[in-house]
Amino acid sequence: MVGETLRNLLMVAWLLPLAGFAIEIFGGFWGKRTSKTAAWIAVACIGTGFLCSASALVLWGNSNGWTVLESDGHGHADAAHTEAAHPEPGHSEAADSADTAHSKQTVYSGTLYSLGKFGSLNVSLDYYIDSLTLTMFTMVTLIATCIHLFAIGYMSEELTEEYVDHHAHLSNGHHVHRPGRFYRFFAFLSLFCFSMLGLVLAGNIFQVFIFWELVGICSFLLIGFYTERKSASNAANKAFIMNRVGDFGFLIGLMVIWTYFGTFQFGPTSNADGVITDPGLFGMIHRDAAGTLLTDPVTGDVAITTVDGTPAVDGAGQSRTIPYSLLVVAGLGVFAGCIGKSAQFPLQTWLPDAMEGPTPVSALVHSATMVAAGVYLVGRFYPMFVQEVLLTIAYVGCITLFVAATIAIVATDIKKVLAYSTISQLGYMMLGLGVFGWGAGLFHLITHAFFKSLMFLCSGSVIYGCHHEQEMTKMGGLWKKMPITAFTMLVGVIAIAGLAIPGVIAFSGFHSKDAVVASALAFSDANPGHFLLFIMPLITAGITAFYMFRLWFFTFLGKPRDMHVYDHCHESPWIMTVPLLVLSVFAAFCAVGGEDGPLYQLITGDEPTHVAAGIASTQSVSGLTLPGHSAIHDVHSKAGALALFAAVSGTVIAYVLYGTTLVNLAEVKRHLSGLHSFLWNKWHFDELYDALFMKPAHIVGKFCAWVDKSLFDEILHGAARTCVIVAKWDRLFDEKLVDGFVNLLSRATWSVGDSLKVVQTGKLRQYVMFIVVGVVTLFAVLFATFPR
């Protein structure tokens, strides 16, 4: 029953934005573009969704007695945790009904609607509800509600019949005049919410893919919202194409999974009697208590298991296996999709360009939710990843976080800074997941969503207040003009920088980044060869603090650099500031308690089985040692201290450089001009891609054009010329010979008729006479010929 209620609540929360989208996009009946009806419908939909999600969360917690929140402490987490929170994969209502009293059911899965069955492929809309799902639902709907509210204020300029776009120019130099698109914006936002929630709720990997694409489309629509601006439409295209590259890998992964597992579903499938017929993907990969994969004794391939953990056999009696290498390929494929979606190295370049969209879009789509979908999928699909894949994830995240952070140092566009910061933080999450810090990565996902959306909204507020001025070099001293914005922004900056007074107060970023860094430290301790995985995030923690405070100092402190901007600057209306305040509360305190706090416990409530204990190197194929909870806990305080130190250093440096006038910034820039320009040009990634892909494509294209022009065209022209010559001869033949014959005939006919027409006198009486004379002659001839 609980499962059904949960399912229904989440379905309502999921489908309401779709209904809102339909009403907003098709219900043109409110007609006037100055009406805010669309916005309020969207807010109502997503707000109701938030209430549903929250009540679902509460219901879920009540049903299992909040066992996940019972903090066991990290030291003795293993036994109790694994058993209580992790019954066998493929936990279902029916299977669990007779389960032990201390182990309440926490995972619910099933089918919402079966789309069709093609052979053995069962395509359906499934749901998979566990603690992660519920947390994500609540987070997404909460943030989305805030951002919707904010957007009502931010997008109010669109509430007009004739909107003048100052950034788009016609060929004659005039600005583009177009009708306002207020309702369209909110329709797209609703569609996006629907897609994102569907992705989170999805119960099979194929469904995830569908909503994955839907999210991409919404992103495309929202980035290209100012479609008249060439930069906006280019950015939209870039985002979409970059995602396609990642999705290509995703599709490969899907094919491998389908070929070997024959199902897409995460959870088990049960028939009408409640008997489990299909264990689902997570049930097919079985790990023993030490985290070792069950392998086929003959071939050494990874065995695919049935519901009860024994190796499955196919119809021919052969046991079903999957080669280990293909398991790696499948994992890498799925992760490729995540790279694209979460803007990881090397596909990270689309995200800064995506800042062309309206700022609420940047806040919602490109910081809090959509880009987080990649991280979420890695977390969701965690049981399928083997160690090689995890290592790849870790390194990709490591590279990304460092590269993005360095670029953020020199960026001057306020939104670009935040964009690179987002990439960098996503790198942190990937790193955390890659180094076996499953809970840490997802923990950072949640906290980052709050404080990054807060900061984006703050930047939106600044931009709105400064009349769409985004360059930090023209700001400064805005503290007095917009105090609420400045204050809430400061909360966000402190949160992301990871500053804290240990034991007294710590904002959310401190806890989550701490967890990630601790996982990395544990990992590098266990595998000394991979020390970079700890060094880089540690350094980057300092860089993060540096560029975030640089942003805040640049914007709100100091003297106004551009008096024009300063004079016209003002604080945003309440509809924009209230979401800021709400979010700032969450940004500050959502992670209270750190890894013993409720949020972390909630997230890790349904942690994959093998995570808690870790995997020893002897059990690992590649020889890696994956740290368990206890290992991480051992190094936690050490890592926390190091990270805090780095952050404080970064903060101090930033203050010295930007908060005071002690250092001549131009001098510094001149000294480090090479580095600066390298960073300014974003590590020359765009140039690299240009040289790697665009130029070869151009060269091939030119060659093809040359072949076409000088080879095929010549052949064709020759054929045409031959035809013309032949036709000329043909024409001569036709005109002289055939026509001549026909004309001769007609002339002969004409002359004969001409000579005969004399007989046609046109006189009736003469005709009669002719007849009579003819008859007489005829009879005379007859009589003469046949005499009696």
Partner: protein
């Protein structure tokens, strides 16, 4: 000379002379007059030839119908009283000569046939229309039956020259009926077309 041949001579002469008069007359109405005499006399000849019904039909349709129609035509197309459209004398003479030649040829062919000795005993010794089936001009009933598809005057039961059953003249009768209807409509249309043209023109 029996009464019958006397009458025949009288009416034959009337017929032929009136016909010649038709040719000679210059006025159309006089032509019509002589034509009436000629056709009426022909009807009398039909009566003499025991063809009562044909004679009556000749009177009713030809004399009473067709000729009245012709006179109508004369009156409607006359642009003055006693309209005369003269033919040149040369033409008349040539036509007369050729006509005489034609008559001679026809006479030669008529008299050239030996009606008694033609194969199949073409000339009956007496009228094939014997007493029962309509002698003395009582041919109304046989003609009517023929038009309905019955042939009381023919021996077609198999004793004659063939077994083929006779169908009479039912089909031609129907065809002629439809033909008459078509002519009626067609003539009405022809006479009407001009008026509508004028109406549209004006």
């Amino acid at each position: 000379m029996s009464g019958h041949s006397l009458l025949f001579t009288f009416f034959a002469l009337a017929t032929c002379l009136s016909a010649v008069a038709v040719v000679i007359s210059q006025t159309v109405v006089r032509m019509a007059f002589w034509l009436i005499i000629s056709l009426g006399s022909t009807a009398a000849l039909f009566f003499l030839a025991d063809a009562d019904f044909v004679g009556a039909a000749q009177l009713l349709i030809y004399v009473g119908g067709t000729l009245v129609l012709l006179v109508f035509g004369v009156m409607l197309t006359a642009s003055g009283p006693y309209l005369k459209i003269e033919t040149s004398p040369g033409e008349t003479i040539i036509a007369g000569m050729i006509g005489l030649l034609f008559l001679f040829i026809v006479y030669a062919s008529i008299s050239g046939v030996d009606w008694k000795s033609t194969p199949g005993d073409a000339v009956a010794t007496d009228s094939p229309l014997d007493n029962r089936s309509g002698a003395d001009g009582q041919t109304l009933r046989p003609v009517g039956l023929s038009l309905l598809g019955l042939r009381p005057d023919k021996d077609l039961s198999g004793g004659g020259d063939g077994d083929q059953p006779s169908t009479g003249y039912l089909l031609p009768f129907e065809i002629v009926s439809v033909h008459l209807l078509v002519v009626l409509i067609g003539a009405a249309y022809l006479a009407r077309a001009k008026r509508t043209q004028q109406a549209s023109a004006s």
